[in-house]
């Protein structure tokens, strides 16, 4: 019987090795899989390449993972946060690499990676610093740059409901990068609020079919990042 549920966040991330590329869902705190990230901090894997839209807030979640020196390189679109100095300090000190990617290009690269598309052309960033050095090509009178699909060894994602097949739904704007990161990672690890029996999620409303999901952990009441930040929490 297929059952993708695993017992704990620690178990779910136990094989994330040093040097792995890890996609981490979320746009700001919405959809950030904070318990999985904390388990990865406990796990201690180092030299990671992290693909995530932002670089976290305060001293918890993604910011804490970075602060704990586990991340060698960030691939993201917006590494600035009003309330976190973790990434900026490491970056200014030359202790973390940054590949800055426009947000839509980042999303499309992740989706392409998951869809078996090695490369595609996009109009975004033509004529800008972020298009410099990239292959340009004209189609029907418009310039485009070549961008490459992104894959990852692991994805850490927060969803809402799951069943034992790994079918997922998300909650509102916490959906963001979750579905495409599940597609692009060889091993996608998802924390959900609730498990349902097969058939307990409307098959027309499943956002991520289980084929894209390897492991599911139930975290009924995930910590709220902004609240932890307000309280001045630090992890670990």
């Amino acid at each position: 019987m297929i059952n993708k549920r695993v017992g704990s966040a620690a178990e779910a991330v136990a094989d994330i090795h040093d040097g792995a590329t890890v996609m981490i869902g979320g746009f700001g705190e919405a959809g950030s899989p904070i318990e999985l990230i904390h388990a990865l901090i406990d796990r201690g894997s180092r030299d990671l390449t992290v693909v995530s839209n932002n670089t976290g807030s305060g001293h918890v979640g993604l910011a804490a993972l970075i602060e704990n020196k586990q991340v060698r390189k960030m691939i993201c679109s917006f590494p600035r946060t009003a309330n976190s100095t973790v990434f900026p300090e490491l970056y200014r000190a030359g202790n973390i690499e940054l590949e800055l990617v426009p947000q839509g290009t980042l999303a499309e690269r992740i989706r392409a990676g998951g869809a078996g598309i090695p490369a595609f052309y996009t109009p975004t960033a033509v004529g800008t610093q972020l298009g410099e050095g990239k292959e340009h090509r004209n189609f029907n009178g418009t310039e485009y740059v070549l961008e490459h699909g992104l894959r990852a060894d692991f994805a850490l994602v927060m969803a809402n409901l799951a069943d034992r097949y790994g079918n997922l739904t998300f909650n509102k704007t916490a959906r963001n990068f979750g579905p495409i990161m599940c597609m692009a990672a060889r091993t996608s690890i998802v924390q959900v609020r609730e498990m349902r029996e097969p058939g307990g999620i409307d098959p027309e409303a499943i956002v991520t079919p289980g084929i894209f999901v390897k492991r599911v952990v139930v975290i009924p009441e995930p910590a709220q990042e902004s609240q932890l930040v307000r309280e001045g929490a630090c992890y670990p």
């Binding site: 499309e108 004529g127 990068f177």
Partner: protein, 232 residues
């Protein structure tokens, strides 16, 4: 007991207020448009949609049909906009993932976006993501995707920087967001169309003279006001 020294009077704001600017931009958004509002002053546009018009607001983090800000205490950390502020969703809203969201943007499905600016050049080049300072943390978000994909780009910005430098310039000195992408500029001083022939001023704020406007602008301006009146 001595009295505290009087604070220096705030200088009278010149030209339109931010709400005025947002109202002018909102007037130019046709009924039924799909619109993406940037962070900051552009967000005000949502509050000035004329009665009888319905526009659908897109936020690139996965929501079409953004509603007004939630009442205090009703915020949902999983229902936010691209500026990471709590929002609501209208009845008839739809949620989707990031690749679908930027398909809407890149694919030309969004009619209008309203963005802020560091600099706009006379040819429509836009710089609004980086000051290019050596120690700045570069962060681009969805700005380059929006200007590359959305049909019409409106800029809503103060006419000048806090230090008085023009934001409308002959050539952008900050890193570019996109080439020849801006359609129209709404500032506290004027409304300016970017056209093949140059920057055409279609309206000037009350109390602002053409000379004032020209002096505060770093690129040549064409007076398009008469032409408009001739049309009317």
């Amino acid at each position: 007991m001595t009295t505290a020294p009087a604070k220096p009077a705030k200088p009278a704001a010149i030209g339109w207020t931010r709400d005025d600017m947002a109202r002018l931009a909102a007037l130019d958004i046709p009924d039924g448009s799909y619109v993406n509002l940037g962070i900051g002053i552009p967000e005000l546009v949502a509050q000035h949609v004329p009665a009888g018009r319905e526009i659908i607001l897109h936020t690139e983090n996965g929501l079409l049909g953004v509603g007004p800000a939630p009442a205090a205490g009703q915020e949902d950390p999983e229902l936010i906009n691209a500026g990471k502020k709590p929002v609501t969703a209208i009845p008839g809203a739809a949620f989707f993932h990031h690749a679908d969201s930027f398909s809407m943007i890149r694919g030309g499905h969004i009619d209008i976006c309203v963005l802020g600016a560091f600099q706009v050049a006379g040819n429509g080049d836009l710089a609004n993501w980086s000051t290019g300072e050596p120690d700045a943390i570069p962060a681009v978000g969805g700005a380059m995707d929006l200007v590359a994909g959305v049909k019409t780009v409106f800029i809503l910005t103060e006419h000048n920087t806090k230090s008085g430098a023009p934001k409308i310039v002959g050539k952008c000195t900050y890193p570019l967001t996109g080439l020849r992408v801006v359609g129209r500029i709404y500032t506290n001083l004027a409304v300016i169309d970017v056209r093949p022939e140059g920057l055409v001023v279609t309206a000037v704020a009350p109390g602002v003279s053409w000379e004032d406007l020209a002096a505060k602008t770093g690129a040549p301006l064409i007076d398009g006001r008469a032409k408009l009146q001739a049309k009317a």
